[in-house]
Amino acid sequence: MTAPRDKLGRPIVVVTGMGVVTSLGAGKTDNWAKLTAGESGIRTVTRFPIDGLRSTMAGTVDFVPVEPFSSTGLTERLAEIATEEALQQSGIGRKGDFPGPLFLAVAPVEVEWPQRLELGRATASQEPSYDDLLRISGGGKYLAYHRRFMFGSVAARLAETFGTKGSPISLSTACASGATAIQLGVEAIRRGETDAALCVGADATVNPEAMVRFSLLSALSTHNDPPQAASRPFSKNRDGFVMAEGAGTLVLESYDAAVARGATILGVLAGCGELTDSFHRTRSSPDGKPIIGCVKKTLADAGMTPEQIDHINAHGTATPENDKMEYLGISAVFGERAKQIPVSSNKSMVGHTISAAGTVEAVFSLLTLEHQRIPPTINYDNPDPAILFDVVGNKARDATVTAVMSNSFGFGGQNASLILTREPA
C-alpha cells in the first residue's frame, strides 16, 4: 500500500487533470504529437506589422479568435481552454463549481496600444496630452476597458467561470510565474486548507510594446529567418529567447481526496523550491549560488537525491546567459551526473511562454512521465562546448523516466524548480 503522506509527513499532492495550449495547438494530444515530432510553433508574426522590429518571430497562438482583441483577452481565453481540458480530464467537482482555490500566473496588465490609440483619436486633438485623454475617458463609454485592464481581471473571470473558492490569486514571478502558481497550490494542500487547487499559467502578450521592451533588453533572438530555427537552447550560436503564447493548467489534489473519489492519478508534485537572486535585475549571480540553492531546496523538499532525478526539463531559454548559468547550477548540484541526465528544452519548439512557461512545461513533464519519451531540443546542430548536458538533440528519445525536474529562472532574481514523479516517492 502506498503511504498517503510523503517522507516529511505532509499530504501527498497529485495531479488529476491537465490542459495545455501553445503555438503548436490546443490540447495535450496535439501538443504531444508535435512536440515529440520536433515541430516548431515559431512563425513570423502576422498579428501586427513587424516593420522596424529587431525580432520579428514569435510563438503566437493565432487559432483562437478573441473579439475585441487584446493581449489580456487572449490570455483569458487561453487560460479557459487549458482549464476546460484539465477539468474534463480530472472530473473533479461539477461544472462551474471547482472545490478549491485558483492560483493564476499571469503577465502584468496595462492599457494596450490599440485602446490607447483609440483614446487618442477620440480626443480629436492634434497633440493629445494625458489631460486630453482624461477629459474623454469617463462617463461610462470606456467602462469595459477598466474591467479588461485591471490586474485581477483574468483571475476574477476565471474564478466566476469555474467556480473556484475564495479569493483567487494573480501572481507574477516573471518567467517563474507558472512554477510559483503550482507551488502555491502544493503549499495550500500540504497545509490542509484544501483538498484541491486549480493552478493556471497563461500568457498571450506578443504585442509590439512587449516585443520592443524585451528587444531593448537584448533578450530576444534575432535569428528571424527561418523563424523555426530561432530558438536554439544550448547551442553555441544561441542568441536569445523567442516570445511565445500559451497556457497550462494543473488540477492538484491531495492523494487521499483523489483516491477517495476514484480519480486517475497522472503524477505527483513531489517537491518545489524557490530562491531569490539578489545580484542584478536581469542577470544571474555569477557564482550560480541562487540557482544551486533553488535546486537543492527543491530536492530537499521532495526528500530526493540527484541520483533519483532522471530527466531535467530545463528552463533553457536560449539566452547566452541563462543556458550557461543553468548548466553551472545543475552541474554544481548533480556533479558528473549533470552530463548523464537527459536534458531538454521545450522552448526550442514552443518558444518562451513567459508567465505560462512553468505550467506549460509541467504539463509536458507529466506527459513525458506518461509516455516514457522525452521531447527533443530542436535546432541543436551546433552544441555549445561549454555546456556538457546530455541534451536530447533534435529527436525525441525513449527513456525510463520516473522523476523529472522542471526549472524556471527569471528576471528579478526569480528562481523556482519543481520535481514531478510518476508515483508517490
Partner: protein, 398 residues
Amino acid sequence: MTETRPAAEVWITGIGLATSLGEGLDANWDALQARRLNVDETGFAPYIVHPWAKVSLDAQIPKKGDQRQMEAWQRIGTYAAGLALDSAGVKGNKEILGRMDMIVAAGGGERDLAVDTGILSAQAKGNSAPGFLNERLMGDLRPTLFLAQLSNLLAGNIAIVHGVSGTSRTFMGEEVAGADAARIALARIAAGQSDIALIGGSHNGERKDLLVLYEFGDFNLKGRFAPVWARREHAGFALGSAGAFLVIESKAHAIARGAKPYARLTNVVADLARRNGTGDVKVTLEKLWSKLGELDGGGAIITGATGVEPVTSEERAFLEEHPDFAVRASGTSFGHTMETQFPLGIGLAALSISRGALFPPGDSSGVEIEMPKPPTQIVVLGVGHWRGEGMALVEAIK
C-alpha cells in the same frame, strides 16, 4: 506524522511606513494625531491625489544607480521595505535576510507619458505607416524602463537593495492582492512552511496613466476633497502615495532573536463576492467577519474603504451592524493606495495597539467615533473598488 501540528502564533515585529504624511512611525502617528492631510487639489485638477512626502532616498537606497533603475512606485516601496527591516532589527542581518520570505502586492509601473503622447500626436498628424508604432517604441523607450514597470521588480529591487533573498512572490489584482499577500504569508508561517516574511506594497498616486485607467470607471474623486464617509453624493477615491511593509514572524522565531513585537497577526481572510446585485458584498463581509476568530466587542476597525459607490454604502451598512467597533477609514488620511491599502491598514493597526491608543476620527460624519480605551483587537478591512474583499485581525499580545 505531523497532522496535528498546532498553528504557530505570528507576530508583527517590523513596520515600515513612507506615505503622503511622512516617513517613519512617529511622523505618521503625529500626523494622524493632528489630523493633518497632504492633498494636492490643483496639480492634477480636477482630480485629487495625495502626493508622497519626499524623503532623502539615500537613507534606504544608498546607491544612486539603484535609484535610477527604479520608477517612483519602486523607490517608494523599496524605501518603505527598508524602514520595515530597520524596525524589525534585521537590516543587514545576512543570515536572516537570506532566508526571509517576501510577498509583495503590486500593480505596475508608470508609463513614459512623453513617449505615449508623442505617438498619439504622430497618429493625429496622419502617420499611419505600418511600422510607425514599432519604430517610435524602438526609438523612444528607455531600455531600462521595462524593469521599472514590471510588477515583480519591486520585489526584485528589495532583494537587490536590502538583500531579502529567501523567496520572492508578487501578487497582483488591486486591493485584495494586499490582503492575499498577508493571508498567504501568515498561513505559511502558522503551518511551519516559513519562519519570517516581509510583506507589503507601494503605490504612487501622482500618475495620470492611472487616473485614465480609473476614469474609465468614473472612480476618481473630482473637484474638492472630502473624507471617505462624506462622499456619498460625490463618490470616488483620491489616489494616494505610500509604501507600507511589515515584517511578520513566528513567535518562537521572534523570541529566539529577542525581537519586540508590535502586535499579533491573528488571522487574515479574503473572498471574491460576485457583486451581481446589492447586498452580496455585505453578505461576504459578514462571512469573513465570522471566520476571523473570537471578537470581544469594543474593538476597532481600520478600513481601506474607497469612497466609490455603491460598494462604500454596502460596507457602511455592514459597519452599522457592528456599532461597538470604532471605525477609521485610512483613505481619508492617506488616499487610496490600491494594493498597498491593506498592508497599510495592518501597519496602522499594529502601530495603534503598540501605542495603546487608536488614532482620532478623521471626519465628523458620525461613522468614526472616539475610542477612549486602548485597543486590544483591531480588524483591518479591505473592500476593493470593483472586486475582492479581505479582513485581518490584529491583536495585542497578552
